[in-house]
């Protein structure tokens, strides 16, 4: 076997993946907390007031990173679901399903904070326009994936069915992204760009990007912890899981 495949088989094996995930997850959470606090200080205290929206714009520092995470988590889930469906890799099935709850949480926070931001700025909590509706649809897709995965008894069949649904839902991602350009909407256009200059003051930009980094790390922390639980569930009858179960039983 070539070294890459060998490496893959080693880290793809559930007991190894379980231990590696356990080593990485606390670092993700820890770094996310530190960066999150820095970003909050930058966003709530240091960043200047917006000339148009006053202080209300400060919701951007959680709203936008959460919105990015809702999309990122979905892409991560769909990519793993794709690998799981094509190559039948157990670890990918678990990784895909482990990213759904965090993605749903971020999407939920996006919708709620957006609504709270919309009330003072647009005069309404909700409007059925393209950006808001497609984002709501993203939340329902997450619920569908989580629900389908929970409804099927066999863990591997459940992961495959839910993964298939996740892949179909990918069509919603470009719709969300381009919705502010394709349709008339109350939602403001893109402020931060990967290509070309962002339309935002640098004193506002760095807390936003720092918070984005923090939410990414938080996602990976949560996803890895759930991956560990998923691996335990998948290998419930195996010796290595029994050892862990019995060890924690004597401690409790």
């Amino acid at each position: 076997m070539n070294p890459l495949l060998l490496w893959f088989h080693k880290f793809g094996a559930p007991p190894t993946a379980y231990h590696v995930a356990g080593k990485i997850a606390p670092w993700c959470y820890g770094l996310a907390l530190v960066l999150g606090i820095v970003a909050l200080y930058g966003g709530l205290v240091l960043a200047p007031r917006d000339y148009q929206q006053g202080d209300a714009y400060r919701i951007i520092f959680i709203h936008v990173p959460c919105a990015w995470m809702g999309l990122f988590a979905y892409l991560f889930m769909a990519a793993n679901a794709f690998v799981a469906l094509v190559w039948r890799i157990k670890l990918s099935e678990v990784l895909a399903m482990a990213s759904a709850p965090a993605g749903a949480a971020f999407t939920f926070v996006t919708l709620v904070t957006g609504s709270i931001w919309g009330k003072p700025m647009w005069g309404t909590w909700w409007t059925w326009d393209a950006r808001l509706t497609s984002e709501l649809f993203l939340l329902f897709l997450y619920f569908g994936v989580i629900g389908l995965h929970a409804a099927i008894e066999d863990r591997r069949q459940a992961a495959r069915a839910a993964g298939f649904l996740a892949l179909i839902g990918v069509i919603n991602l470009p719709i969300i992204h381009f919705s502010v350009n394709w349709w008339n909407t109350l939602h403001q256009g893109q402020t931060v760009r990967l290509m070309g200059p962002s339309k935002i003051d640098s004193g506002m930009l760095w807390p936003l990007l720092t918070m984005a980094l923090a939410t990414h790390l938080w996602f990976f922390g949560s996803m890895l912890v759930r991956t560990r639980v998923g691996l335990l569930e998948l290998d419930g009858g195996k010796d290595w899981v029994r050892t862990i179960a019995l060890a924690e039983g004597t401690r409790a």
């Binding site: 202080d55 400060r58 919701i59 912890v225 759930r226 639980v229």
Partner: protein, 57 residues
């Protein structure tokens, strides 16, 4: 300090939004810990039942 919490009159909106952010993410991070505890207890229960079955003559 009061000025900071008032957020130019938008305090109620901003702090509600931030509260939702923290509460939802905290719950989301705690949920798998509870799930793990339940799962391991379940596996121990299964082991115990099987041992009891095998111990019978």
């Amino acid at each position: 300090m009061n000025n900071f919490f008032a957020m130019g009159g938008y305090g109620a909106y901003i702090w509600t939004a931030y509260a939702v952010f923290f509460i939802v993410l905290a719950l989301e991070a705690l949920a798998p810990l509870a799930q793990r505890k339940r799962l391991l207890a379940d596996i121990r229960g299964r082991l115990k039942r099987r041992e009891a079955r095998e111990a019978k003559p």
